[in-house]
Amino acid sequence: MPTQTAPLSATPTDGAESDEPVAHHFDTLQQQQEAVTLGMWVFLATEIMFFGGAFATYTVYRREHSAAFHAASRELDLVLGGVNTLVLLTSSLTMAFAVAAAGARKKGLTVLMLAATMVLGAAFLGIKGVEYHHKYEHHLLPAFGLPFEWHDHAQAGGAKLFFSLYLGMTGLHALHMVIGIALMGIFAVRVWRSVDVGHRRQGTEVLGLYWHFVDVVWIYLFPLLYLIDRS
């Protein structure tokens, strides 16, 4: 028969540092924190598999249609893509600062860094929007029945595939960013309203994990789509 130990605790344990409250089904704060962190890593594993399917598709088609993919890739704007990469990397930096600030219990700084991350994220999306607009103007967006024109008729199919995948993959990435920015906004409000930002430290960390992941996906997308076919 199982024996019984300490009664269940629904309140914070040691009072030395005022940490976030422990949910009723966890026994200790540490257990809760480990569970939340593990949960986010498991979720990121699912995201890797999700993008992985798209990357696999791209890889297969790049082999099948290498000439067309080479040519189509050169149409992508290296400058805008490069700037976007810097913007996103910087946003990961500000995100890391936000996590550190929350750990140091500096509420104002935390909110500022979160806001900076959101601004940089929005800038990324803005630049992406400019890129999409260029493609739209040059009739290179194979969606919604829009006209698609490729100078080399022989390569048209492959080029259309490239731009389909470009749109699909960067679009998925952008969707993840939109969701990230939205969550970040909601979270920033909560941080601002919180009594003790130390209570939000783990939330910031977990949000940071998500944001860094979205950044890493771009680090893979950018070379794959913009760089490696340009020789």
Partner: protein
């Protein structure tokens, strides 16, 4: 302990002091003697159910939903089995027939089989079995049910406005370009439901890692937990690939972007690879939890430790891993290379090994046991027999030379129904009966239940065994009309289906009946081991008043003939 056939009358036995309800929950005051507060009666309002974060209530919500979808999927089957009684088209136009079998597959796989055991029994029991007060992420758990309902109701709505006719496998370019039916809506419904599956799996994994009670180290966990853990690994790693694949099909249809369109240089075989990369492991999502149920039932009803506990545990993990490596066996005649075929063939054959270990070990658990043939054991023993046949016919299919002939025929249909219905569904029913007293606090009528189990077994075999013969004769699947010489076998199959259909109505009826009229159950009517049996039937909202401390292995029956593990 109490007599399993009798009701318990003293409510104060084996209940722990009730903890105070969490803030925001209205505690209903009831007369003290007959009805202690439990997770069911603590609050009857709609809000308390629809906004619950109690894993047990979420399990019950899933129970109701998947039963609803099972009836829909079953109705589709009744319809086309009726049509198949004659070789010609009598009842439906071909387009309607094609929609019927598609909906049967889509509903049964995505909205019944995949959630069934993990979302109903898993949600209810995983925290109890590991000694936790809830799953790691209770709100995500509720979210998973809502996602499931949104996806499921979208699929039903799609059916009502016209349906989809691609088959549940959505092969391109038929699904992406040629079909005139609601492919995108169905794809979106499945996409949404995929997230439900991911969240369930995520919850189970984190709960098993982080919320086990002190003393419950990995090799003390019930095998139910091991198999759910293995299934959850597949849920989180495989489902996203399906998600991105059907997203690509939906994008192709909706936005006109050509990804699988051969006219653009797209590759329809790529779709098959991506699709089966998930959908093969998915079948292990469907069967692994059933394995867990069978282990629990066999142990409880023979009052023995499970033979070769560690081998069974590792076999579950082995099946989950190997399951990701064999998807190409669905594509032997697709045009993929012969050498790829051979690699997939040998790997598929090797999956028989961990499955065989389980079957042998369950059988050996009976040795020197003290067996009682209550309904759960009847289902479990039926499972072993039917799963053996289903699994061995899988070997036929893993063999390239045979698969060429029987691929896309009724042989395949028979094979997977032996595993899914003879296996997974019987496991589900067995588990539902076994844990019914815990979940509801009531005993089901044993006589009717045994009769139903036998009826299900008979109906099942009559439905699906003739399909092996039909398949080898050459009857392709998804056929509305067929050559007249095959009518006899089809009539046999349809007759069996009618028996099976009726047989499934029995448990639905008497289980509902038992909620009001069944004798009340004690905490441990089966006198089984396991933390879930140490709490009242039904449990309180927070499961354990104090966190248990585990000192024994699983299945530590005092009279178990089997001592220790095989090493």
């Amino acid at each position: 302990m109490s007599d399993p056939h009798g009701a318990t009358v003293s409510p104060s036995t084996s209940t722990s002091p009730q903890p105070s309800s969490p803030p925001g929950v209205v505690t209903v005051t009831r007369p003290a003697v007959r009805d202690p507060v439990n997770y069911l009666n603590v609050d009857y309002s709609w809000k308390s159910w629809l906004l619950t974060v109690d894993h047990k209530r979420i399990g019950i919500l899933y129970l109701l939903s998947i039963t609803f979808f099972f009836v829909i999927g079953g109705a589709a089957a009744v319809a086309f089995r009726l049509e198949l009684m004659t070789p010609k088209a009598d009842l439906f136009e071909s387009e309607t027939y094609n929609k019927l079998f598609t909906m049967h597959g889509v509903v049964m796989i995505f909205f019944f089989l995949i959630p069934s055991i993990p979302a109903v029994l898993g949600n209810f029991l995983v925290p109890l079995m590991v000694g936790a007060r809830d799953m790691a992420f209770p709100k995500l758990n509720l979210a998973s049910w809502y996602l499931f309902m949104i996806g499921g109701l979208t699929a039903v709505w799609t059916m009502l406005i016209g349906g989809v006719d691609t088959g549940w496998t959505f092969y391109t370019p038929y699904s992406s370009t040629y079909s005139n039916t609601y492919v995108m809506a169905t794809a979106v419904a499945v996409f949404i439901t995929g997230f439900s599956s991911i969240l369930t799996g995520l919850n189970i994994i984190v709960t098993v890692h982080k919320l086990r009670a002190p003393g419950m180290h990995w090799f003390r966990m019930p095998l139910f937990i091991w198999s759910h853990y293995a299934a959850s690994l597949i849920m989180i790693l495989g489902t996203p690939v399906l998600a991105v694949t059907i997203l690509l099909v939906a994008i192709e249809r909706g936005l006109g972007i050509g990804i699988f369109d051969p006219k653009l240089g797209g590759d329809p075989i790529l779709f098959q690879h991506l699709f089966w990369f998930y959908s093969h492991p998915a079948v292990y999502i469907m069967i692994l939890p059933s394995f867990g149920v069978i282990s629990e039932i066999i142990a409880a009803f023979s009052r023995n430790r499970v033979f070769g506990y560690r081998f069974v545990a590792f076999a579950s993990l082995g099946i989950a891993v190997l399951g990701f490596l064999v998807w190409g066996h669905h594509m032997f005649v697709s045009g993929q290379s012969a050498y790829a075929g051979m690699v997939f063939s040998i790997l598929s054959l090797l999956i028989a090994v961990p499955s065989a270990i389980k079957v042998f070990n369950w059988t050996a658990t009976l040795y020197r046991g003290r067996l009682r043939f209550d309904t759960p054991l009847l289902y479990a023993l039926g499972f072993i027999g039917l799963f053996t046949i289903g699994g061995l016919t899988g070997l036929f299919l893993a063999l390239l030379a045979i698969d060429v002939h029987v691929h896309d025929t009724y042989f395949i249909v028979a094979h997977f129904h032996y595993i899914m219905v003879g296996g997974a569904v019987m496991g589900y029913l067995g588990g539902l009966h076994y844990w019914w007293p815990k979940m509801t606090g009531r005993l089901y009528p044993e006589g009717w239940a045994r009769l139903s189990a036998i009826l299900v077994f008979v109906g099942f075999n009559l439905t699906f065994f003739p399909q092996f013969v039909l398949g080898y004769l050459g009857m392709p699947r998804r056929y509305h009309i067929y050559p007249p010489e095959w009518q006899t076998l089809n009539v046999m199959s349809s007759a069996g289906a009618s028996i099976l259909g009726v047989a499934y109505l029995f448990p639905i009826t008497y289980l509902i009946w038992s909620l009001k009229f069944g004798p009340r159950a004690s905490a441990n009517p089966w006198d089984a081991t396991g933390l879930e049996w140490q709490v009242p039937s039904p449990p309180t909202t927070h499961n354990f008043a104090v966190t248990p401390h585990v000192t024994e292995d699983a299945y530590a029956y005092p009279d178990s003939a089997l001592v220790g593990d095989a090493h």
